[in-house]
Amino acid sequence: MKGLELIRAAMALQETERVPWVPFVGVHGGFLTGVDATTYLCSSALMTAGISKAIELYHPDGIPVIFDLQLEAEVLGCTLKWSAATPPAVISHPLAEGKRLSDLPEFASGKGRIPQVLETTRTLREKYPDLALYGLITGPFTLALHLLGTDIFLKLYESPEEVHELMEFCTGVAGKMAGYLMEAGCDVIALVDPMTSQIDPDSFEEYVAPYATRIFSDIRAAGRLSSFFVCGHAQQNIEVMCGCRPDNISIDENIPLDYVQEKALASGVSFGGNLRLTVVLLMGSADDARQEALACLDHGGKKGFILAPGCDIPMETPPANLEAVSELVRDPYQQEVARTLETSDHRTALLNMNDYGQSDKVIVDIITLDSESCAPCQYMVEAVKRVAPHFEGVVEWREHAIKRMEGVSFMSSLMVKNIPTICIDGKIAFVSKIPPQGQLIQAIQQRINEKLKLKIRSKRSEILIFGETEEVCRELNETVRQASLELGKELRIATITDRARMAAFGITKGPALVTVHYRLKCENNLPSLDVVKEWIKEL
């Protein structure tokens, strides 16, 4: 199923083959193409390039054209302060500075940066016909706050008519903007109204619901889909948001996904979210991002859920983190690996692997999810199985399936990060890719040679011959030399006539013979106490 179809199905609450993925790329598109936020948000060519790059890297099912909640406010006369790494901020509120609604500039498609946004939309529409293009509009309450400032909160109680009049005006602007975006080719209109998170459900019902409902109804009448984005602590308003009849609601990490799922599905509305933006996507690793995405997928389920970040992706989010999410969402096998690791995490005792692989045989370990149920794991195990007989008992192999605790602790102990992985004598040799037979044989042979070398190097023996005088030792000395000659074994032979040393060996009368074996037990590593004890027992 293609992206747009998948999103349509999810919003229609149909079970989908996989969860659709919509990364909210805003100024992050500028980061991907090497331009600052200000330059990016003012240029159609740069936004097209940024979003195209994001599509190439993150393989989304849907993507916003632009994420800038100041666009409409700018047209209506709010002053913006621009920054290099974030969307601009509104710094003046015309209605708080004495202007009336009738004084505000006319809102039309040719004003401000709207032409650039529409051009970007048209270009992307043509380039990516199968992708769901999201057109974002500033929600009426947030726009009202841009125009009036925080006085709006007091006016909810002190001047209700004035607030209604303002909301009516902002709804008109939102309707126009939605119309422009739909005409330019957007499939989904997202009404983004984060400031509603600051009010209670009663105020929401009175001042937001009638207006938002009207906008969603108009979008539906135009044959397009709608989404209601609210970030922040908006848990109290989820039910009233659903009551506005959008096709979807999207929330951030401040609200638990299962709470939203319950409320949204009960109202027949699809839902989306809520990858953590800063702690995970911006500051975390690709592994963190995978775990986070998995948690969302497992909570969201395959019915009516769209995986998305909580809000606009921070500009400098490492692309690798978003790529990890995009790979995971399409790969049920990766999901299972991540799921298994997550459940066993933190409960594993690490094994002491310092002396691993010191036995005579070469040990090949294959870390798998489970070769019976996972195809790549099965091929990896078979590759080893085929090769082992070539070495006639010198090579021993074992599978460690991480579905069992033993496998997980083995994996962590060997510091293996990917599944499947082949380790030879405890060292990671092949990761994820199944090695061709020749390469595998070569790697094992190399290890056998290494061990052999070590063995040869490590052996040294001596024979000590004791006697009160050289004369006493002479015959024994000759016998030993003859024996060494006949055996072909190089030996160091020492003759000792010092009585004190004889006594130290417990010898009372010569000739006497002592054999000495030196064996190199470890090199360039510190053996544990237990291991040293074992060596001592051998003596």
Binding site: K81, S83, A85, T86, A89, I91, T150, F153, L154, L156, Y157, E158, Q198, I199, D200, S203, G232, H233, Q235, Q236, L277, T278, V279, L282, P314, M315
Partner: protein
């Protein structure tokens, strides 16, 4: 008088500003913070008593309700407005030193951050709890914080940031303050800020809601 103080605290808690104000509906037609404060002063109540036993308990109750998601920004702003109406009558006494505030709290959003709703709420809550608040506004440079801190020895300072992108600025500001004035206690807050971040940048206090900061400040007072 105790009854009047109790009434005043309810006006603050529910945001009842004056007789004329329509909010909240259940207190319509009743006197508000404005009238009741004047009655109290007329009857000889001390400004200190009005602040400590009338206004502060009301602000504290709304602060706790806000923390527990029982009320939201608009209700807190109404409470703050009721309190400010009362403070208009009390300010002259504080200026003459006849009544005393607990201490001084300097607040602002860090350089690069222009979002002030959270900062304003904190500022109102702290003021409502009997502290003198010096609000430096938005986009405040580290040097400005230091300059004002020097003018108010013993003051605490609060830094606010809403954006993840201004968190590094919060770190720079904290470090600059600590370097210039090591004894000053720095509190940080705002949507993306966490306890972990607070510890990492060497700030002294973090709270996820304004009431938590009030409790921290009052706690330092008792030290």
């Amino acid at each position: 008088m105790t009854e009047l103080l109790q009434k005043l605290s309810e006006c603050v808690e529910f945001g009842k500003i004056s007789l004329a104000s329509p909010f909240p509906p259940q207190m319509k037609g009743q006197e508000g913070a404005d009238e009741i404060t004047r009655h109290l002063l007329d009857q000889g109540a001390s400004p200190q008593d009005i602040l400590t036993n009338g206004l502060m308990p009301g602000m504290e109750r709304i602060g706790v309700k806000f923390r527990e998601n029982k009320v939201f920004v608009p209700q807190v702003l109404m409470s703050a407005k009721a309190m400010n109406t009362a403070m208009v009558h009390l300010k002259p006494y504080f200026l003459t030193g006849e009544a005393r505030q607990k201490g001084t709290f300097i607040i602002g959003t860090v350089e690069g951050d222009l979002h002030d709703i959270g900062k304003n709420l904190v500022s109102m809550m702290v003021e409502g709890n009997g502290w003198k608040v010096v609000d430096l506004g938005v986009d405040v440079k580290p040097e400005k914080f230091i300059e004002v801190l020097k003018e108010h020895p013993g003051a605490f300072v609060g830094l606010s940031a809403l954006l993840t992108t201004t968190m590094p600025s919060m770190e720079r500001t904290t470090k600059a303050i600590k370097e210039a004035l090591p004894e000053v206690k720095v509190a940080v807050g705002g949507a993306p800020v966490t306890r972990e971040f607070c510890d990492r940048i060497g700030a002294d206090a973090y709270s996820r809601d304004p009431q938590g900061l009030v409790e921290y400040l009052n706690g330092r007072l008792e030290d």
